[in-house]
Symmetry: D2
Subunit: 427 residues, 4 copies
């Protein structure tokens, strides 16, 4: 059986992807993005459209920015759309959508795509296609540098294809916010739409696989914790009385060095990063405050625990060395959950028959972290099956870089693989 995808032109997918690419919004701030997904869902005639607090469990959100930050993005989005009805529902960081289509008896299939962007300034080089073709980021300093614009397109394209075909059962698309902050997966997994899902498919574009490659089961997603760290000391005049300060900048520098030096572990891969530093101050003042965003990962929950303990010990000690106090706040987390054999088999089989697909890998390591694992675990805990599918795409440079781009040929491939899998499960 092959899905009828003729109504969906490659051109339409490209347009869709570029619209979202042009207006990247970071986690919990996907205000316009949510509005525009809703508009597209309405265009497709989807009747159940759950937004924000109706799509996930707001109490479980991690890493929601402060009110000032939210307001700034909200205002920007508000000046770009007149859909105040949707805007009202997403205010306060209540982004994300779940679309549901019911067609009688049958299993429930879920597709999860993520929708947020990254705080990376997009390249303006003529060699960078989005710059050359005029759809470079309008939100200076932010960029869809991990392909979530393609993921939204996969979600909408698959939905359109599925509903244009016959099927029996229920199909849900989870447009998840805040994957980059690893803050949106858990609230969706504890939200109201996951419990009846029998089969869940997550998906990611690129990952350094060329266009045409499909990975039926991405595994070994790294378990993950992210922290806001704050060192508090005491300010003093750096020229007049340097000894009277308790230097938060020194504490942070010591901590950073020690954190990057956490030993590798015999049992498997670990990761560590101090990705953001800040101390607003003046050059002639001993800093009384310095903050950082830090994350650790591990191939297993045990490895993550090792990294977390090692991290906390170093942060506390660095503070103590310089007479400061340290506070750490968990702002994002992820777990490891691997793909199910049956779904891997099915996706591998279907992908092999899709035009333009080659090669198909059954399983590969995902390498990085993802919070789709929360949804996968929830489904599996309920007796269902889950897999996390990779859709290859050529790119001039790696994910999370300023010249990342997708080969738009991957869009139709992705939609085909995903929609045919969904339709197979619902046939």
């Amino acid at each position: 059986m092959t899905a009828n995808t003729h109504l969906l032109t490659e051109e339409a997918l490209v347009d869709l992807r570029r619209e979202f690419h042009e207006y990247p919004e970071p986690g919990w701030r996907e205000f316009w993005t949510t509005v525009h997904i809703v508009e597209e869902l309405e265009r497709l005639g989807i009747d159940q459209i759950h937004v924000g607090g109706d799509a996930l469990d707001p109490a479980e959100r991690l890493g929601v920015p402060d009110q000032e930050e939210l307001s700034e993005w909200y205002e920007r989005a508000a000046s770009r759309t007149d859909r105040t009805d949707v805007l009202e529902r997403v205010a306060g960081g209540h982004t994300g959508v779940v679309a549901v289509v019911e067609r009688g008896e049958g299993p429930t299939v879920g597709l999860r795509v993520d929708i947020d962007a990254l705080p990376i300034t997009e390249s303006s080089s003529e060699n960078h296609e989005p710059a050359a073709a005029g759809f470079r980021s309008e939100n200076e300093g932010y960029m869809h540098a991990c392909g979530h614009d393609s993921h939204i397109t996969f979600g909408l394209g698959t939905l359109q294809t599925v509903i244009e075909n016959d099927f029996s059962g229920t199909f849900k698309v989870f447009f998840q916010p805040s994957e980059e902050l690893l803050g949106g997966g858990k609230p969706m997994a504890t939200g109201p739409h996951i419990d009846d899902v029998d089969y869940l498919i997550g998906t990611h574009v690129g990952l350094d696989y060329p266009t045409g490659t499909v990975i039926a089961g991405l595994d070994e997603v790294l378990a993950f914790s992210r922290f806001d760290v704050t060192f508090t000391g005491e300010s003093a005049h750096a020229g007049f009385a340097p000894n009277e300060g308790r230097n938060a900048v020194q504490a942070l520098a010591t901590a950073t060095n020690d954190i990057f030096g956490i030993p590798r572990h015999r049992d498997g891969s670990t990761r560590v990063n101090v990705g953001e530093l800040n101390s607003e101050n003046a050059a002639n003042v001993i800093a009384d405050k310095a903050t950082a965003k830090v994350e650790v990962r591990g191939e297993s929950n045990e490895l993550l625990e090792y990294m977390r303990e090692s991290l906390h010990r170093r942060i506390d000690a660095a503070a103590e060395a310089h007479g400061c106090e340290a506070e750490t706040e968990l702002i994002g987390e992820g777990i490891r959950e691997d793909s199910d054999e049956e779904l891997v088999d099915l996706v591998a089989e279907i992908a092999s028959g899709v035009d333009g697909v080659s090669p198909v890998h059954r399983r590969r390591s995902a390498g990085a972290s993802e919070d789709v694992t929360y949804l996968m675990r929830a489904v599996k805990d309920n007796g269902g099956r889950a897999t996390y599918v990779g859709i290859g795409s050529d790119s001039p440079s790696g994910h999370h870089t300023s010249t990342f781009d997708v080969d738009e040929d991957c869009l139709l491939i992705g939609v085909s693989v995903l929609s045919e899998t969904v339709l197979d499960l619902l046939s």
Copy 2:
């Protein structure tokens, strides 16, 4: 001879100081402050009021913020005053005023006061008088934490006292912007008003001397350089491919540790500080950019040179260690210049006769850096004399801290010492 100061009430000085305290503005952004100084000068009937580009040499300004930053403070100031005539002249960071009063033949005496504030969040504790008495900073995150609000008051109060008395010659008050950035002294010293000055008096409040103490000659101002440092590397996904980054945060941490470890020097005092760090990024991205504000000081120009060389070597090496590039930009500088014996003698003698003054120190080390030294050197190069006078003030905590405050009793003392000295020189 004693100056007639009866027209100047202590209450008026306190009101003036509190007005300026309530609206602190940092270097080159003293827009409202400049406007309000002009208004006060007009009230006193001063006829020569030179503002901004007429007060100093704009080409020599160091550390002027970018347009966005200037605009933000400009807009804020604009919403607080209707003196658009003055605002127009200060736009673009052209702050500062020189007031001139001529009364026939005689020498020219200059008084230099600085007017800028610091990026420190003022305490809101009830134990902090400005908070308790309702004149805490309106500009959240900024504060007159070094007493420049008192300095402005010294300038205006001295001017009023001087003109209410008889004198022969010329009196100039230099309301200098951007002392904290050490960016305003040099342009005032190369500006149009310094060349004919025969006697220059600089002044500073507090410096950990109690109310009543006067230091006739503050010396040993530390020579000083301030730099913006930028490390540029390459971003990468911290989970997926950490090895592909060139980590600007690691470079900055290594540099910070090495910089604070620059050896002390046998020949005298040195200072070093990394006062501000920044890397806007995400926790899961290897940072491709990290910046810092760094300063070094030395008791002599030779010591400063030693610190500068040591600093640059460490910055370059830290960049290299982590495969990054480093750029450093000089954004502020200061020199050492000591007080002249004759003026020290005069101030010491006059201060001894002022009510409430005790003890009088002839000379003390200033301890920190100051760019009044540029004006002192310019005057001395022209054959004139200069001194830098300290006016003691009790304070609950040190300069550049969030609970710094002056004992307002020092205001009248300062005005008395300064105006009587000026009048003596112009008698």
Copy 3:
């Protein structure tokens, strides 16, 4: 077929292991150890006993200590034995033995065991069996903390068993010096005895597998480089003129921090260690010299190359930061070479039939580095086959710790597995 091992009592193996345990000697200093192996070989009536320069290619030795260090160990060994004939041949760091037994036509089988000890002070706790039972290290500060005493025992026990049975072909045992320094494998692999070897078996005890476990093919030995690093600066009086020094200790501290912070690599496991520091100096002198022993490893040669480049960049930059010079000298290296399928199959099958063996793993990752890989590669380059066999042993603590010990039950198991494999290949 089962080898006739009844002539070899477990007690004899235990005695043998304890003799070697009691007198640990580090790499290239295994003087008494070599002598005693020769004595045992003579006792067994082995006719071809190749010692030192006849056993390996002396020109390829890496990390040979200086003459003073060699002499000290040589004198100590000389006072423990009257075999001056053998001592003469090992003088100058020419340790190691190759034993050869020829029995007519047939293939050549090699067994490689390593013989050196570690600079670790052995526990003297009553809970530590060698201390309690009276065979704790006589060479204070040195210890067989990686089980090479058992390896020697495996080599001698297997040789005795093999020659007590019928076989056809040639059997060689390579008693390799200086494995811990990764300096002995390469010279044995380029020496005169490897070229005709058709099957090579390496072996290691313990590796955190309990007694009874056998791993037929230890793989993924990490590629490896070890360096001596020397920072040279300039001394100065730390109190009088600290600025006149160029501080080698600071350079080493910066380098150490940066080295431990080399980023993990997406492609697989890496390792890094600064294992030894030294700066002989006085507390009141700025150090003009500081040395370190540093090593890096990678799961592949490419990963090793990444680590080496990262290491050198950090060392050079740290020197530069503190005005010093850095020199690095390669003193040990290792490569990766995995086990051959046919031999893995054979060992797995034979081990399954040995008394006390369970479970048998076909392949496991070795985790650490080893220079048996040089011999494995040489054999494979000549068209032969090689495997590296793990013999489990309970131990109270990990390898390279002061309370490491083997469960002596593993000795007979090891000899059985190895001798039956050798006899099978030579049958």
Copy 4:
């Protein structure tokens, strides 16, 4: 009055100095040095010669090396002299001599000179006079790099001159051991010979003043503490299980960086040094032990206290960061004590009349640390007077460097200034 120094030839002083130069011994190991001083005192016919335990209070000795280290130096000294009678008394680190000459009524004058050498390898360059002229250090790795060979010569030369002249009272020369370790001053100050001293003169050669210069009062000796620091962690195999270690080398590197970064203090000069590092280990073992010799100084006791607190906080925190324990042991200490006005005046006056002396400075800062201050304080506490006299000497390089040397013309100058001062006090 001028002392009769014609019996003392410059040549004799040069010979004496070179003898001691050739055989440098570090603190508490001045075995041959003590023997040879005794021999010289006997030659001069001094009747009271107090050695070792009779010269000072053994219980107050700080930083005495371990028995093995003492024995090594003792054996070396024993092979160079047949004075077993003296050797017996100095065994166990009981070095040092007090020589006493009594001539009837009158005050007691003390001269203190120090006798120990430094662990610095002396230059063997032909440009280095001791190498060129054949009296370079015989004790490789050790050197009289701070001029204590000249100090011994000052002591013996002054003693000879004084006894060749008439005087009335008592003259004592304190040949103090272990000044470089700051371990010998305190036990001499609490020993049996200080209590009746009315005038104490300490002396130092060089200090970057050219030959001919005399400083009548060296002041501002820095207060001082020296520590042995030991980090204890847990070893592990660096390749196999790096996470299982608790890395003492990382702790030491972090501590070193943090220690060098202790902020400068507003109140005056401070110093800090990590002068010696050690971790005997292997490159492939995570270090379980690392040691350092660390010292801090301050211009006042308060500044020293600040440095000590800052040091301990950083050491403890660095241990904690890496899961290690830290121990610190005080092994040397010094205090600040300035010179007395009357003695400064006297020395200045006398020096002005000595041939070859010019200029004479009344007071200068000593810059470094010294434990002569303990003797100075003891004398002053008893109502006496003390000064610390500098004797200039050209030198090709600074103190504590491998090419340090004195201009031997300074020897006669020193003896003249010191002996004439002593004779004046005893006239």
